[in-house]
Amino acid sequence: MPEAQMVGSSLEVRRPLLEVRHLVKRFPVGGLFGKKQLHAVTDVSFTLDRGEVVALVGESGSGKSTTARLIVRLYEPTSGEIIFDGKDILKTEPRKASLSFRGRVQMIFQDPFGSLSPNHSIGFQLERPIRIHKRARGEAAVRAKVYELLETAGLNPPEEMARKYPFELSGGQRQRVAIARALAVEPEIILADEPVSMLDVSIRMGVLNLMHRLKEERGIGFLYITHDLASARYLADRTLVMYAGHVVEAGESVDLMDNPQHPYTQLLLSAVPNPRAGLRTREVQARGEIPSLINPPPGCPFAPRCPRVMPQCRHTMPEVAQVGPDHWLRCHLFPPG
């Protein structure tokens, strides 16, 4: 099964903690009788282990957030498998995830202004997961744990921070609170959905560095979702490129960005502003809009915009092909085998 391999690191023997296989999500859209479906995520597979950062990049609407929300069971997948710690949680825990799963997999959201409840103090918001998951018992213990979390997230002094309300904090501080909240349950994996895209540029690095530290020091695995390729390259061990719900290319981050193989990845990288290269020197090769995700035509989703499109691109989805050590892609230019 080549797809399964696409993401797994070939070097590893033991099973990774989280393995996503052939994840599909279709949203019903339209009126009462409409049978239209929005193909938000199609056949996404990857693995994520403790102490690993995997970046999920792709432009707006490519299905990144949906993927993350599927994993934490905010949405029910249309099909596919989510194997966590050896168990397919979709089978063992239908409908809603158990507390124990929630205690091991957490999520950070894009919008630091929206992900904290405006009506509760920071302290309260950190206490809740601790109490729900019984990570500490007794008032004093809980409070101590809250302060410890705040300090870990670089929010000092913790006593004062705990008393504040979200509106009193800056964006960077809020995002740190969100991270602290995710840490409160002592998870093994954190899905970070564009955690810095809403932050001021000068503050972003601080949050990224915090995530890096957590990975290093606590061995937490991160799924880092972003549309900023440079930051993915900065933080992530491996990177997956998504386009219109599909993972089109995956590989070791630096390798992938230095040697992009898929035409879409190439296009994306060429569009990233590069002060040294200057605007006028490079022409963007592809034009046109992202295809509609509602009842999309068969074939490669990038075919309409692809500068190197071939006839078969328009009716068959390419198979996964390996083009380097730990570098995989889906493109007819690279037939499998």
Binding site: Q106, M107, Q110, G114, S115, L116, H120, R128, I132, Y165
Partner: protein
């Protein structure tokens, strides 16, 4: 070029107060918004009047004083009505039932509206479809008309009036609350709570409801206005409990006794003005509430406060007022 008009700056507020304000903005609106402030003062006076009726206007309001339609005098500061009752007592005691009906209606209607709105918005799907169908039905069916029809089936009384008014008055707010719930439900902090393992119950009560307090308070005030107005109208049509003293029944008996033709303005004016004052006061408070949901409303007021009304010109352009440095 040099226009050194003064800019009156607002004093910055201390920290604790700001926290309070962020959490309960609707409390602060009243302090800040002139109309809301006046409104609150008026409604407070009316509520106090209702509460302390036995102190303010001692005696049985239904007492017959042997003289009907006397103009205001020393014994009867607001005169007597066509039934020989003391107008002042009627006005003071009338506040009780009218305000009770108003607030009672609002409380009941908002409970229904909140439950329906939150349940529909939170659980969505078929529950939402059914609840919204019902809500829209109630929204479209004319309230007072339904009320009149309902009054034919119900025993006249304060409780039934409240019930009927709440029954016809909840739908509008249910829809607003549902819309708000739908949007809050999509908020990341709700998703974060789900991921943290909170139960639906806890999410509704801890995350969603606290964020709708403004809406609920605003709806409460709006429904109170409706309750007061509609119960007065029902009384005027003789469809409420007519042996009770309320502003509506006072007006009914005034009209019934032809007070208008007698030129007995004192039989109409006190209760009529009380109804209007209550409605106006609540409307004003709601204007203040509007500013919370719509902060843009506040912006211009601040500018006006600082620059005076003259900043407005024929062509709208950012005002230029130099500040001395």
């Amino acid at each position: 070029m040099d226009k050194r008009q003064g800019i009156r700056d607002t004093k910055p507020k201390n920290g604790r107060l700001r926290v309070l304000e962020q959490r309960f903005p609707w409390l602060f609106v009243i302090v800040r918004h002139r109309q809301a402030r006046v409104g609150l003062a008026i409604i407070s006076v009316l509520i106090l009047m209702a509460l302390f009726a036995p102190v303010i206007a001692p005696g049985d309001p239904t007492e017959y004083h042997g003289v009907t339609n006397t103009p205001p005098s020393k014994e009867h500061i607001l005169g007597t009505d066509p039934l020989g009752r003391d107008e002042f007592r009627l006005m003071v005691w009338g506040a009780r039932v009218t305000l009770l009906v108003g607030f009672g209606t609002a409380a009941l209607a908002m409970v229904i509206a909140t439950v329906v709105g939150v349940v529909a918005g939170y659980f969505r799907g078929i529950v939402d479809d059914i609840l919204m169908l019902i809500t829209n039905l109630f929204l479209i069916i004319p309230g007072l008309v339904l009320l009149i029809v309902l009054s034919a089936y119900l025993h006249p009384g304060t409780g039934t009036v409240i019930l009927a008014l709440a029954f016809t008055g909840w739908a509008f707010h249910a829809r607003i609350i549902r819309a708000m719930t739908l949007s809050l439900r999509e908020k990341d902090f709700v998703a974060a709570a789900v991921v943290a393992g909170e139960s639906s119950f806890s999410i509704i009560f801890r995350q969603i409801l606290p964020n709708m307090v403004n809406l609920i308070v605003g709806g409460f005030i709006g429904t109170t206005i409706y309750g007061i107005g509609a119960s007065t109208a029902l009384a005027f049509l003789g469809l409420t409990k007519m042996t009770e003293i309320s502003w509506g029944t006072n007006l009914f008996y005034a009209q019934n006794g032809n007070a208008l033709l007698l030129g007995a303005w004192w039989a109409f004016v006190p209760s009529g003005f009380c109804v209007a004052l209550a409605a106006l006061a609540l409307t004003w408070i709601n204007f203040g509430m509007d500013e919370i949901t719509n902060p843009r409303l506040r912006a211009e007021r601040e500018l006006r406060k600082a620059l005076g009304r003259k900043f407005m010109q024929r062509v709208r352009a950012t005002p230029v007022r130099f500040r001395e440095r």
